[in-house]
Amino acid sequence: MTGIEKLYRFFGSSMFTMVALAVLILFVVVGVFAPWIAPSDPNAQDLAGRLQPPLSEGHLLGTDSLGRDVLSRLIYGSRISLIVGFSAVLLSAVIGVIVGLVSGYVGGWVDSLLMRIVDAWLAFPFLLLAIAIVAVLGRGLDNIVIALVITGWVLYARLVRGETLSLREREFVLSARGLGANPVAIMTKHILPNCLAPIMVVATLEVGVVIVTEASLSFLGLGASASEPSWGGMLADGRAYLTRAWWLATLPGLAIFVIVLAVNVLGDALRDALDPRHEKVRTENVPA
């Protein structure tokens, strides 16, 4: 059985999921190799050739209000979405997992304190918190990632705490403890591996959420920078030209939609493949 066949079986033999995976890989490849793939410099202006519609000569997807090539900007824009998406999710997962493990395993007042903090965190619409944090920290790629990590870790903390609470009473953990293993080793070697599946499912779905949030921030004028092309920023610029150039707002949004759709399809498939109790994960995820 080839690798692709195995993957196909793993994802419940769903063509839909394989397409989603292919789309995601395509986006990553495009982002990584942007300088070689993009037909022109994304910031090269051509005021004589402003607002050219798609399929014009030399500009497959047209040009924007400064005559910049839309396709090239879309290609470069994928970098910001992917960098922010993956780094913010990875960092939040690491922080959340540590907090969740400690909270669930140590228990007592540490658990109460940490969970009250989590509750206060969940009391904010996360987009609002992200906006507020970027507003005070200032714009920039690093600040956006910081804001997304500050808003994102709680999800993992809650999930891992719940899993840890039930795992710590299981025989293999009790026997490790009885044999005198140190708590850090128990948490990392015995408990963590057993909650990796739900963490991966949540993390995958979160990539989509984070990409949309980054785009929302850019759309609201709180993006990475004005000079670097980002999908959210392109969309915001395109709004001013809705009546004259429909493609400017349509295409970047379509890109966000397609990548988020692919991530969501993949996340659902992962859940079905890895976690037969997926209803449980879903309710634990819900910040009530």
Binding site: A123, F219, L235, L242
Partner: protein
């Protein structure tokens, strides 16, 4: 029930305390001096900046700052906007009805669409309708609301010109404010032209904001219905030859508690989503106020608006938990809602 409510209220107080600390800290995590950041690159003298610092209490010790801020908050005083020079609570109060109106309208859109979709999907499980419903739900969840909003504007405002692209009401409708909800006020005053204008204005924003929640709601209600579908009491009702509508009513009632939990959570996220949708449609609500305040670097206004939004969010969660406990008595015994 009372014990449950008391315990839940206490939790809410704790959460609000945490919220107030987070909001209060916002102004202090600014790199550098908050007043200098607010007026960066502007022609404001050093003396003037010092006055602002005193006004914001930034010259006092941190703990004292927090308590004097909270002392004001409890009395409804959220400080003074540095840009507009008027009270923050007054500015916020004038925008809250617009946001609440939009959120409720989005909820209505979601309920009206999701219930029939869920019923058809659940009763015809595995059919083309059911699979179509799943795909649509996936699309609805994946679609960024600002893009959906702009696409709706492009098609229905710019192209077909059926709906206005922004605002709450056509100018010169001759309305006086009673409740702050445009459509309700218009109906109360018998101003049908204004009511129609209000409805036309709210249609696209409500659909935009409601789409994601429609998708979630229809999926959750569908799985709830599937769970009760095979149960004995449903068969019993059917066997007694009751009308389909009656059986369905019983099924819906039992599928509802799980749905309401998710709804409560999603109403909260609607408040967050409203920020973006309000900006897209120029809707004069709390969300757009936050974004404007951030762009003007009006920190007291940002703080106040964030606090009020978070407060609304916590309140919605509280009400959801209580309604849920009321619908499902088992929760009261096991305690603590979904937490």
């Amino acid at each position: 029930m009372l014990a449950f409510i008391v315990r839940r209220l206490w939790q809410t107080v704790l959460v609000l305390f945490g919220v107030s600390i987070i909001v209060f800290s916002l102004i202090h995590i600014t790199p550098g001096d908050a007043v200098d950041v607010m007026f960066a690159g502007e022609n404001v003298s050093a003396e003037q900046r010092e006055v602002y610092r005193q006004q914001l209490g930034l010259d006092q010790p941190l703990v004292q700052q927090y308590f004097s801020y909270m002392f004001g908050v409890v009395q409804g005083d959220l400080g003074t906007s540095v840009r507009r020079g008027t009270s923050v609570s007054g500015i916020i109060a004038s925008t809250v009805p617009a946001t609440v109106e939009l959120t409720l309208a989005a909820l209505i859109v979601a309920i009206v669409i999701a219930i029939p979709v869920a019923v058809v999907s659940a009763l015809r499980q595995g059919s083309v309708w059911d699979r179509g419903g799943s795909v649509l739900a996936l699309f609805g969840i994946s679609m960024p609301s600002f893009w959906l909003g702009i696409m709706l504007i492009l098609i229905f405002s710019v192209g077909l010109q059926w709906f206005p692209a922004s605002g709450r009401l056509a100018a010169g409708s001759g309305m006086t404010q009673i409740t702050g909800f445009v459509v309700v006020d218009a109906v109360l005053q018998g101003n049908w032209a204004a009511a129609r204008s209000g409805l036309l204005h709210i249609a696209l924003p409500a659909i935009t904001l409601g789409t994601a929640i429609t998708a979630t709601l229809s999926r959750v209600l569908r799985s709830g219905l599937l769970e009760v579908k095979g149960q004995d009491y449903v068969d019993a009702l059917r066997a007694r030859g009751l009308r389909f509508a009656t059986v369905l009513r019983h099924m819906l009632r039992n599928a509802l508690p799980a749905t309401i939990i998710v709804m409560g959570v999603r109403i909260g996220s609607l408040l967050g989503g409203a920020i973006v949708v309000e900006v897209v449609f120029g809707w004069p609500g709390l969300g757009r106020l936050v974004v404007d305040a951030i762009q003007n670097r009006d920190f007291p206004l940002v703080q106040g608006a964030v606090l009020v939004l978070a407060f609304l969010f916590v309140l919605v969660n509280l009400v959801t938990d209580i309604v849920q406990a009321w619908l499902d008595p088992r929760i009261k015994l096991t305690g603590g809602g979904s937490r």
